[in-house]
Each structure stands twice: as C-alpha cells, then as structure tokens.
C-alpha cells in the first residue's frame, strides 16, 4: 500500500521474468558450450539423445522427490521404490503373463500404495519424513529381492515392452530426430506435475504444507489427507520410473537403485528447490537433472579419469548452486 511498490509495465515485467527463466538455464548452457568446445563428439544428435535418455530416469525420480520436498519433507525411497515397481511389473507380465497395460498399471499402483504408506507414516504417525522414507527404502529393497526371488525378471515374453522407453514415436514424424519415448515420458510427467503443482488444489496445498503446515491446518484444511495424497502421487511417479527403467533394461533388476535417491534429491536442489519446503519448480528440477546428465556425459566423453570425474562433478554441483544463489541475489537487489 505504500507508494514504494513499483509497478513496472506488464511488458517489462514479462521480459524480466523471461530473462530470469533463461538465466536459470545459465549453468546448463555454460556446461553445454564448454563441452562442445572441448570435444567435437559432444554436440551430436546421437549424444544429445543419449544425454536426454540418461536424464530420463533420474529426472522422473527427481520430479517425484520435488513434490515431497515442496511439502517440507524428503523422500529417500524413490530409488528403491522404482526398483520395487519394476519388479512388480515383471511379476505381473512375465510370471503371471498378464497383458502389458495391466503390468504398467500394476507398477504405478504399487508406487501409489507405497506412497500412501510413507505418507501415512509421516502425516498420521508423525514419523519424520527422513526416517519414514529411509525405512520404506529398506523395506522396499528387501521386498524387491523377496518378490523377484533375488533374480532379474526378463520381459522377453512381452513384445513391445522395451519400446516403452527405447522406441521412438518421434522418429515416425521427424526421422532425423529419433528422440526415445522415455524422454517424452520424462517431459510428459514433468509437464503434468508442473500443471498440478501450479494450477490445482493439490499443488496449492503442497506449497502451503511446506510453507506453514500449522497455518494450513488452522485454515480448516485436512492437511494430513493432502499430505498423504502428495506422497501417493510421488509414489505413482516412481512407479512410472520403474516401468521406464525396466523397459530400458528389458528386465527388472531387483538390486538396482541404490544411491539413486541422492542423485534425485541433488537434481531437485540444483534446480533451486529449497529443502525446507514451500518453494520449488519442476522446471528447475528438470534443469537440475539435465545439468547432472550433461556433466557426467561430458566428462566421460572427454575421457577424464573416473576418480577425477567424481571430484569435478562435486565441485561443479557446488559451483552451479553457488552461481544460482548469486543470480538470485542480483535479481532480488535489482
């Protein structure tokens, strides 16, 4: 209400947000240019597609993690849940011989069920998210081994299963750009989640939960129920990741997924989402996942020794986030 509130013209405001959004890509663009200059093998359609594909599983998991992190929680179970859903999919399709859509639906439902469990532990039993999802991680890891009989399950009897992630619908229209379906699935999952976060009640309450859960409760909203809903949605997305990875490997590997949770969370945080909840975007998470994929791919293309790859990755993650912080400070000051 003070005259101190400046009212820039809508056009200028639009431009400013536009510039802002582009700048968020700064780290990514910087890396891409750097690697392109360093190696001629980097900037090639096939490699860009490889990078996108490499980002797809981690990207989907990171989208799931973003949802939970926005509510002020954390989800350590994403990797184990992905594996569990892949195994469920394998059991349904290969062991039980059910048709493909049922296998996919089963994987996603398994994810939702697991999300409902984590969510209930967190919202109803008040177990801290870190512990609830750490416990779920161990439980799911064990169950994946039990259910699969500690053997990988192959999808050889389900023709078309590998197409889910590795086929390319785009190729039919743009033969020179054979983007695999897995990448499309990542973008679809990200787009839908971004819409839900930005435009629906579920999204609104996700931010509200992370911002001030008590205030949300005092506003008469059934905060617990919504929180469980968000964990369930995150679980469902992990189910999609499970289908994706199973399709890509044409098998459900019951021991896969260790350490994936940290990668996913790292993508989320690099993308500017705050671990204390209340703020964050899916676009940021996507960029975060891409930054990680580009970085690792680029270092490998440059044949950097693996021990140094780790060192460089660590440094650049810190640097990328630091640059992002500086950018925000500038933006806030301007």
């Amino acid at each position: 209400m003070s005259a101190a509130i400046s009212n820039p013209s809508p056009a200028a405001a639009l431009w400013a947000t536009g510039a802002q959004k582009i700048l968020a890509f700064a780290g990514l663009i910087f890396l891409v240019i750097g690697f392109s200059l360093a190696s001629p093998n980097f900037m090639q359609t096939s490699n860009i597609i490889s990078i996108l594909q490499a980002a797809s599983v981690n990207g989907v998991l990171a989208v799931a993690a973003t949802l939970v992190i926005i509510t002020g929680g954390i989800d350590l179970s994403v990797g184990a849940l992905m594996t569990f859903c892949a195994v469920i999919c394998g059991v349904l399709l290969t062991y039980m011989g059910l048709p493909l859509p049922i296998g996919v639906a089963g994987a996603i439902l398994a994810g939702i069920a697991s999300g409902l469990c984590s969510g209930t532990f967190v919202a109803k039993l008040k177990v801290p998210p870190f512990i609830a999802t750490l416990g779920m991680m161990l439980i799911l890891r064990g169950l994946s081994l039990v259910i699969s009989g500690t053997r990988p399950i192959y999808f050889n009897d389900t023709p078309g299963f590998t197409e889910i992630a590795t086929g390319s619908i785009v190729r039919n229209f743009l033969p020179f750009l054979p983007i695999p379906n897995g990448v499309l699935i990542l973008f679809a999952v990200a787009g839908i989640t971004a819409y839900i976060l930005g435009r629906t009640i579920l999204g609104r309450y996700a931010y509200a939960l992370g911002s001030n859960e008590e205030a949300l409760r005092l506003s008469g909203v059934n905060a617990d129920r919504w929180k469980i809903g968000i964990y369930a949605m995150a679980g469902g997305i992990c189910g999609i990741a499970g289908v994706l990875i199973a399709s890509r490997l044409n098998s459900a590997q019951p021991a896969l997924g260790m350490g994936y949770e940290l990668d996913a969370i790292a993508a989320v945080v690099i993308g500017g989402t705050s671990l204390s909840g209340g703020r964050g975007t899916i676009l940021g998470t996507l960029i975060g996942a891409l930054i990680m994929a580009v970085l690792i791919n680029g270092l490998r293309i440059l044949s950097v020794a693996q021990e140094w790859q780790t060192v460089v990755t660590g440094s650049i993650i810190i640097l990328a986030v630091y640059i992002d912080i500086l950018r925000r400070q500038r933006a806030a000051a301007a």
Partner: protein, 291 residues
C-alpha cells in the same frame, strides 16, 4: 545328526546373480549333505568393514564351519584367527584368502580368466584397433584382477591394440549402459569392449544396442539370462564364465569334509570357460551357466 550342522557362508556380494548362483550351489550341497547353510554378503564389494561385521556375527553364532570370500584378507585376519582358535574350520572361496588359516580354497583364477578374454578380443578384432573396458569396481580384488588380467595380456601380446578407456560402473546396469554410450560417443572407431562382470557386460550390450552399434565386438563375464540371450542373438561375441555353482558346492562340500575330519584338497580350482554362440549349448558349458 548332520542336520544340526551349521555352516555360515560370507560372500563378497549378495544381490548380484553371480553370488546368487554361488548360493544356489551351496544350497544344492546343503541339501545333498543334509546341513544348514546361511549365505550373506555386503551390498557392494567396497564394504570391507560391513563384511567384517558379518563375519563377527557369524562367529558369534558359533557355527560348525565358515565359508569366506574375503574382500580384504588382511582386515579379516584377526577374526579368522579367532575362528581357528575356536576350532571352526574356514573354507575360502571365490578369490582366496592370503592366509594359512583356510583349510581349502575354492576359487577362480581371475587374472588368467581375464587374459583369456583379452586373447579372444584380439582374435575378434583381428589383432589391432581400439578397445575399452567397463569394469564394476576400481578397488575390489575381482575388479582389479579382471582389469589387470585383460590389460596386461593386451599390452604384452598385442602391441597394435590400444586401450582407450577404462571406466567403472559399480556393476549397475543402467550406469554401465550410460558409460558405454559415452565411450562409444567419444571413440566412434572403437572396435571392442570388455564388460568385466555381469552387470557391466549387460550395460555394454544395452549401450551398444541403444546407439545401434552392432559393429563393436563385445565380450562379457559370467552368465545370466541376458548375457546368454545376447550371445545367442549375436549382440555379444562371447563371455568368460566361472563356475559359481561349483564354487558354492565345493565350498560346502569341503566344509562338511573338514567338520567330519576328512582330508580336503587345499586348492580346488573351479575353473573358467569361454563360451560363445557355438558352444553355449554344450553340456559342459550349460553346467556352469546360470540363468
């Protein structure tokens, strides 16, 4: 009476198919000899201290014999000595234990096996060209021995073959896939890749397939359904297999013999084999492969 015998096997890993095959062999022997066998191993071959804790817990159980595949022989020595003092016979398996405590060792010679892979690789690419390795681990004994066995053989025998890249994918199928793709991207003229364990080998096959590169000679290690299919379909030229079921079986057999005070052979070489599309269905090979 024998039913009460309790044998604890502590392996280097657990979830990987190779170790499950070892477990299968151990279970076979357990059934045959009517003993109880437990099988445990850490999540990855770097977790030396976790394995020590497992060994300590197994000792606390006071078993009749212990089978042990050491991640690091030295670290385990005090506990092994404790076993010796308690009169619990120890059988080493997989890659041996540098110590005189184990009464027998059922193992594969990884160095020699990887050297065989190098010979086959040279044969496949005609003695010259670029090759790369995707290995599961940079520090564990199996990882190091398979890498060195392959590299040393190439360096010693095939001067025209250049090793352009050695990367490590933790035996994780997906990570190994991505690694393979970037190696191929960086070296468009690569002639062959060696995947040093099951997960690495499948990752290599996957990566080459996703990039549509069927011109690369791929050699794997161990078996499992995916590798066998890849070999039958011609995606993989062939692979080295150990005899994991035999390792598990022999370990338990030696343990039972030791408990019963019978004489046991000190070195049980369980052997390794090269298999490809031609001999994969041979009885001898089928006996050492696992799905």
């Amino acid at each position: 009476a024998a039913q009460d015998l309790d044998i604890a096997l502590i392996s280097k890993g657990f979830q990987h198919q190779f170790w499950q095959a070892v477990r299968m062999g151990a279970d076979q022997a357990a059934e045959e000899f009517g003993v109880n066998v437990t099988f445990e191993g850490p999540d990855s071959e770097t977790q030396v201290d976790r394995q020590i804790d497992m060994l300590a817990a197994a000792l606390a159980r006071n078993p009749d014999a212990i089978g042990f595949a050491a991640l690091d022989s030295q670290a385990a020595t005090p506990l092994l000595r404790q076993a010796q003092e308690a009169g619990i016979p120890v059988v080493a398996f997989d890659s041996g234990v540098d110590s005189d405590i184990p009464i027998a060792t059922a193992a594969t010679n990884n160095l020699a096996a990887a050297a065989l892979a190098a010979d086959k690789m040279a044969e496949l690419i005609g003695g010259s060209g670029k090759v790369a390795l995707v290995v599961h681990d940079q520090t564990s004994r199996t990882g190091v021995e398979r890498r060195d066995g392959f590299v040393n053989q190439i360096e010693a025998e095939y001067p025209d073959i250049e090793i352009v890249s050695i990367q490590y994918g933790a035996g994780d199928h997906l990570q190994s896939t991505e690694i393979t793709k970037s190696i191929l991207q960086a070296n468009p003229d690569l002639a062959g890749i060696f995947g040093a364990n099951e997960g690495s080998a499948i990752g290599v096959v996957n990566g080459a397939r996703e990039l549509g590169r069927d011109d690369v000679a791929i050699i794997g290690y161990d078996s499992g359904q995916a590798q066998m299919t890849a070999i039958r379909e011609g995606l993989m030229a062939g692979a080295i297999t150990q005899n994991p079921i035999g390792i598990g079986y022999e370990t338990v057999r030696a343990a039972v013999a030791a408990i019963n005070g019978e004489a046991v052979e000190e070195e049980i070489d369980t052997g390794f084999y090269w298999y490809d599309a031609d001999n994969i269905d041979d009885e001898e090979i089928q006996a050492v492969l696992y799905e």
